[in-house]
Amino acid sequence: MATDGPQFSPNELMVCQAARQLRDGEVVFVGIGLPNLACNLARRLHAPKLVLIYESGAVGADPKRLPISIGDPSLVTNSLGVFSMFDVFSFYLQGGLIDVGFLQGVQIDRFGNLNTTVIGDYQHPKVRLPGSGGACEIAILAKRVLVIAPQSKRSFPERVDFITSPGFVGGPEGRHKLGLPGGGPEMVITNLGCYEFSDGEMVLTSLHPGCTVEQVRENTGWDIRISPQLTTTEAPSDEELRILREDLDPSHLFV
């Protein structure tokens, strides 16, 4: 088997791994794309009572098609409730009701800080990125944050060019010192492996099947810490893959 390569794509593995981090009954602030797939995969498997909230205002969405934007009409039809964005950010997010926030980043650094604002100098950027959206407040207020990001030396610098969404800021005490209410990043899932945080610093805790520590080092902009209990990420099960490919993303938009 291993010789003719894994029977699944990196995205599929990332989605499955993200889904496994979600507990039944949790309230998740969902992003579009892989996070949305991860949440719906979890609902189909071990977390049927997972509540999905989109920053657009849809609560308890039950989309009958794969939404390509967080404001898709399929997130409204047959949802449990639609709220104003004032309610979503004030009462749900700042109110402390969000257990898990999903974030993606163009850059993420060793302390889990995310950049989605600019590459280069803010005033004269090499590349102007979209900006925060709801990411800054999700990073600050959600109880736990999960990050899904493709990994490369450029996307994993020692320090991001701009902190859009704070992780552990400057290190272990970073969040506490600044009084950030949420718990901060819990796990970063890339195409190479999974990373957790110790003393506010990213640590490689599992390698995806077929990936090596060398690959990880080559694609990280600092001397990455490796967990002494480094494991191999569990491959997607046949059932996970079937639900993903046949039910959730039949047109293979994301997987």
Binding site: I32, G33, E55, S56, G57, A58, I68, S69, I70, G71, D72, P73, V76, T77, N78, V82, F83, S84, M85, F86, F89, S90, L93, Q94, N113, T117, Y122, Q123, P125, V127, R128, L129, P130, G131, S132, G133, G134, A135, C136, E137, A139, I140, L141, F162, I163, T164, S165, P166, V169, G174, R175, L178, G179, L180, P181
Partner: protein, 297 residues
């Protein structure tokens, strides 16, 4: 009132405008008329500039952008915006940048005529470093330090509704975003509606009213006025167009060709809809009606 008259009367060069609607009910018909009337030096505010402001910026209408997320939702970057920021084409624009929560808070303060709004946000982020309008305030009860953002009070808000009466009492369902706050925060509000209904329809379900006629300066009847955005219960989002926009906006020539064919070349939204032709049927909404409620006593 026609869209042409509404824009002539309530959108002037150099003014501050907000066209709201989070993915849903984004009034492209109004933006196209602003481009057609060649407004200049506008300060345009929106949580998500989206394709609608990419078009205004590429057409040279904008001097300053106040926003929180500048992308093409689900389809990549906004290239016209990037050209303006990175190369000053067709003109350089100033950016005033917040997060979504910050923009929501600014409009809420504006609607309530509060000079600022407090929120637990921005600690550890670089946003306050590049935006001096994000300050802090100390709670007089707990001594905690919170973030504060200033009120946003645009000259004119343009809000698209599914239905409104001739006095502008507007009802919106599906995603309601920050439309109510944007309308109350602005000096003038233009309500654009898919359907103009009799007052009795509005009165049959008062809890559905999001914007009261008393704050509305103009009412425009513009069916299909949101395409490529959508109107819940009327037509679907044209996701294909949003994806196509990636190519169009990436290439200045294609961008200008688009404006020629779909904006300058047309007199109004009516001609836009005619030009869409059968395309429209693909997007028409299927019926999925709510359980009616009793408002009697």
């Amino acid at each position: 009132m026609t869209m042409g008259d509404a824009i002539r009367r309530f959108v002037h060069d150099g003014e501050v405008i907000v066209i709201e609607g989070f993915t849903h009910l984004i009034c492209f018909a109004a933006a196209h008329e602003i481009i057609r009337q060649r407004r200049r030096d506008l300060t345009v505010c929106r949580l998500t500039p989206d394709v609608i402001y990419d078009q205004l910026i590429g057409a040279g209408c904008v001097r300053r952008l106040v926003f929180s997320w500048a992308g093409n939702p689900g389809a990549g970057p906004l290239y016209a915006l990037r050209r303006a920021v990175e190369q000053g084409v067709p003109n350089s624009i100033e950016l005033e940048e917040y997060s979504h929560f910050g923009m929501v808070a600014r409009l809420t303060a504006g609607a309530a005529k509060l000079p600022f709004y407090p929120l637990r946000n921005y600690m550890g982020s670089d946003l306050p470093r590049v935006n001096p309008s994000i300050k802090t305030i100390t709670c007089p009860f707990t001594g905690e330090e919170l973030a504060a953002v200033p009120a946003l009070n645009p000259d004119t808000a343009i809000i698209h509704a599914q239905r409104a009466d001739e006095n502008g009492n507007a009802q919106i369902w599906g995603l309601i975003g920050v439309q109510k706050e944007a309308a109350f925060a602005s000096r003038n509000t233009i309500v654009v509606a898919e359907e103009i209904v009799s007052e009795s329809v509005i009165r049959s379900d008062p809890n559905r009213t999001l914007i009261p006629g008393m704050i509305v300066s103009a009412v425009v009847h513009e069916p299909f006025g949101c395409h490529p955005s959508y109107a819940q219960g009327y037509y679907d989002r044209d996701n294909d167009f949003y994806v196509r926009w990636r190519e169009i906006s990436q290439n200045e020539e294609l961008f200008n060709k688009y404006l020629e064919e779909w904006v300058y070349g047309l007199r109004d939204r009516g001609e836009y809809v005619a030009r869409m032709g059968a395309e429209i049927d693909r997007l028409k909404a299927r019926p999925d009606y709510c359980e009616p409620v009793n408002d009697g006593y």
